[in-house]
């Protein structure tokens, strides 16, 4: 053991599967979870595709006490946390309450809940607005609800760095573990699929306007012109190496390295911060580029950003120097859940020694010079994986995970 914190539990709620094994099987098969929005009529909007979780019956998973006070994304996060703890073999009642913390990422908050309450305010009056509106919409609500449900009173917080959030939460969890918290529940689950949430997302101008679910989100292809968002994400149980050893816990892998950078001012002409984030994360892990066996790309799906990422990867690894994959082409980009799910997927790749495919990308733009794993899973000897993520507004993050020794 190197002493690095380890991941001992994974919980997944994704458009392609609820639960680790269901998601992982679908991911290796290349199942596309993207489709036309069904929860409201998207006909009047310029973008109409989304990665929806379609078979989530919340009453089967959570007590009715929690349902009136939670947005859907919080319900998904609570279920993912329950599953991650069960997967880790942790019963929080057996652990010191101040020795367990919660650090999640959030990019939007509870839009669907908030829209419903605003609707009541304007149509019926203030006495119809739920008292739970006071927190159900809030960025930190997933952290708070996971903490309350599981009696985790140690250092906790929320990280808001848009789609880089899943990695930045992991970085913050690692800081807490290094300072003595024994166990930190981390990750991110997001989704704001309602008209109000949708128009907010449309304002970025980054969403694909295509209608064919197999041709809309095509990162690194010459035709990339926007991404498709989705809902869900992953929650991870992270622990100090010592805690995991004492419990005799199964380890998915260790958090070997992490770094975050911020882009220079737009128009400055200076290089974006992504390459530096990758290099700093590798240095933090004590790893050389040739040690990395696979890269889980940010895969923005916007030509300008794909170019920046391909340039960063070829600068560090050389042209075609490392297999690159973007399984998020099956789920859409999950905002704060995206990088958390990529981390989970990377750990499953290390476990099963196979790289999951990128789907729907017929051709990779030649100028990018990356070895994109497409359509079929690729068996490989995998010990070290790099996960890359970017958030709108200049956030870059990279994390290195290594198979447990």
């Amino acid at each position: 053991m190197t002493g690095n914190p380890v991941v001992t539990g994974i919980g997944i709620t994704a458009p392609t599967g609820l639960g680790v094994e269901e998601y992982w099987r679908a991911t290796l098969r290349g199942v596309n979870g993207i489709g036309r929005i069904t929860r409201f009529d998207p006909g009047q909007y310029p973008s109409r595709l989304f990665g929806e979780i379609r078979d989530f019956a919340v009453r089967e998973h959570l007590p009715s006490r929690l349902i009136p006070q939670t947005d859907r994304m919080t319900q998904l996060a609570l279920v993912a946390a329950d599953r991650a703890l069960a997967d880790a073999g942790v019963d929080p009642r057996d652990m010191p309450e101040f020795g367990m913390g919660v650090v999640t990422a959030s990019a939007s908050g509870g839009f669907e809940f908030a829209q419903r309450e605003l609707d009541k305010l304007w149509s019926k009056g203030k006495e119809y607005v739920s008292a739970y509106q006071s927190f159900a919409w809030f960025y930190a609500v997933n952290t708070g609800q996971i903490s309350i449900r599981n009696g985790m009173r140690g250092p906790s917080g929320v990280v808001v760095t848009e789609q880089a959030g899943g990695l930045d939460a992991l970085g913050q969890a690692r800081r807490r573990l290094r300072r003595g918290t024994r166990l930190v529940v981390t990750g991110g689950v997001d989704g704001s699929l309602c008209p109000w949430g949708w128009v907010a997302q449309l304002t970025t101008g980054s969403l694909s306007r295509r209608d064919d679910p197999d041709r809309a989100y095509v990162p690194f292809s010459p035709g990339a012109d926007g991404f498709v968002p989705g809902e869900g994400g992953a929650i991870l149980v992270t622990e100090t190496a010592e805690s995991a050893r004492e419990r005799g816990a199964r380890c998915y892998g260790e958090i070997a390295g992490y770094a975050a950078t911020f882009d220079p001012r737009p128009g400055s002409g200076r290089e974006p911060g992504l390459r530096r984030a990758v290099e700093l994360a590798l240095a933090d892990a004590g790893a050389l580029p040739e040690d990395v066996d696979v890269v889980f790309a940010d895969a923005a799906g916007i030509a300008e950003l794909d170019r920046v990422e391909a340039a960063a990867l070829t600068a560090v690894f050389g042209p075609g120097g490392v297999p690159v994959t973007a399984p998020k082409t099956m789920t859409g980009r999950l905002y704060s859940g995206g990088a958390a799910l990529d981390l989970a997927t990377a750990l499953l790749s290390l476990r099963d020694q196979v790289i999951p495919p990128t789907i729907n990308v017929e051709t990779v733009a030649e100028e990018y010079a990356i070895d994109l794993v497409r359509d079929e899973p690729r068996p490989a000897a995998l010990r070290t994986a790099l996960v890359v993520a970017r958030g709108r507004g200049g956030f870059n993050a990279a994390a290195v995970v290594r198979a447990a020794p």
Binding site: P63, R65, P68, S130, A131, Y132
Partner: protein, 85 residues
């Protein structure tokens, strides 16, 4: 004037704030404390809003968050109903 009953309150509690996993509204209540039943002050505000909408009884936030058990809340509502007639 019909009296507000514990069964009525249970229905409003279930509909507005749900029910905790390990608490039994039908068992130990109405003398169990709201805390034992898994209802915090926000849950009581939710219940109070429902009471206001269904019965037209306005309970102050302070009154609602100081009652400790369903029995006390039922009594509080009945006092208000009686005062109204």
């Amino acid at each position: 004037m019909t009296e507000f009953t514990f069964d009525e309150l249970k229905r409003l509690m279930r509909e507005s704030a749900g029910e905790a996993e390990h608490a039994d509204l039908d068992g130990g209540a109405p003398d169990a404390t709201f805390e034992e039943l898994g209802y915090d002050s926000l849950a009581l505000l939710e219940v109070s809003a429902r009471i206001q909408r269904e019965l037209g009884v306005v309970l102050s936030d302070e009154a609602v968050t100081t009652v400790e058990s369903p029995r006390e809340l039922v009594a509080l509502v009945n006092e208000q109903l009686a005062a109204r007639t």
